[in-house]
């Protein structure tokens, strides 16, 4: 499994444990987010601290995840490296969701 989920308050912290968020991992990410949302949690933090590289399929999965959390939900990302940040900037996806430098800061802001 390429993910670990930890529930903190009403927030699911989903950590990608694969080094590459690509076509091999993308369907599993969508499934993992779908399972969390089906379980009744719609605030999700995606932790990318272990992800070195994300390709177009990985980006597609991230956007699908964002859509899955819906209008009432919340989808944030933390711990992006420069390469991932570059893709989100190029595609203007960094304007779509909140990005935090690390999980602690993100959780603090989300719980405030």
């Amino acid at each position: 499994m390429s993910f670990e989920t930890e529930i903190k308050n009403d927030i699911a912290v989903l950590t990608v444990t694969a080094g590459r968020l690509d076509a091999n991992v993308a369907p599993d990410l969508k499934q993992a987010v779908s399972d969390i949302v089906d379980g009744g949690i719609s605030r999700i933090m995606l932790d990318l601290k272990q992800v070195q590289f994300m390709d177009s399929s990985g980006l597609g999965a991230v956007i699908s995840s964002f859509k899955l959390t819906g209008q009432k939900g919340e989808f944030v990302i933390c711990n992006m490296n420069d390469a991932v940040q570059e893709i989100l900037t190029l595609t203007h996806m960094d304007r779509l969701f909140q990005i935090y430098p690390n999980a602690e800061e993100g959780l603090q802001k989300m719980c405030a």
Partner: protein, 397 residues
Amino acid sequence: MNGTSALVVGDDAEARVALSRQLDNAGYKAMTANNGQQALDILERAEVTLVLCDWSMQDMSGSEFCSRLRSATINRYVYFIFLGSPADPPVQHALKAGADAFLTKPIKDEDLHIRLKSATRILELQHRMCARNDFLEYAYASVTSDLKIAAKVQEDLLPRQFRLAGLDTNWVFKPANFVAGDMFDYFPLADDYFVFYILDVEGHGIASALTSFAINNQLNPSTHGLCAKTVKSHPVIQEAVTATVDNLNLQFQGNLNSSRYFTMVYGIIEISTGKLSMTQAGHPAPVHLCKETGKAVFLGHGGMPVGLLDEATYDAVDCSLQVGDRLYLYSDGMIECENENGEFYGSERLLLRIQEWRDLPIEELGDLFDGEIARWNGSENFEDDVSMVILEYTGKR
């Protein structure tokens, strides 16, 4: 197994005859050989799948014959039973030599039947496996041949290289898997426009290629195509380029579970003035090489991919081309191509190379970049589709 050919090998003629009779009674078609070489000759000619061989033979030992048979290129499996006396080396030696079983002489009918049954099981299994393998090979060949035809169809859709009204052109196109999710085209439109685009559908392979075909079909150069329609309804080229991408974005919205989308650069050049306007929708930034200064720079500030969000809006990036200036469009498969050390080719390296090759004629650049990226990749098998379009503004001719 009725009618299966069995070969009895051994020095002792009487024993051969006796065993042949036992095999005949069991429904086999028995043949005999009095030494290893003769047996190998028979095995080459006849469809024998069962061998019963004496462990001790004078000319060629049983174990040598067995290992020669195992290393011979025979298109079927041969079940091999050694026949020996209790004084002969133990079963393990026989199995090590490549045999499947060992029978102790004198051979009782009951023991022989048990061995033959086991041989039948193995041979039938082998036969079924071969048949399945043949089918898979046939299916694979048929799929591959279809894909080769599809690849040719896609290649035929690509624009011709070199001289067009107002621009010289060249390109590189290397699908990762026969057909690509990458696609590009360029063509003159109306009296004074030159339209160009490059797109990359998420993923690669057949599904991506089919989507790229569909988009390409929308953007065809005919008067009914989207390019002509938006130019007609938007006389300002900045508006025509954003309207085209807006339109595609709405048309290609997938459902919630689908994340198939594409990135693209879509642009128009006014041939008489060199005025360029383009939209960069999540696609790597095009490079503008200025003829006068020899400097190459990235154009654009990114933009949302197409088909991901229906509320996405697109901007136009403008630039003024002088005669001799070049524009490079390329897919992420180019800059994300990894060498054997896992290092990306990268946009900075690309920029330097574009500058370094600024004085070479555009006719040579397609092959040069093709070779460059193949060398970086280490082979012609790419992880992702690689494409590049090079345009050189020549002004009105």
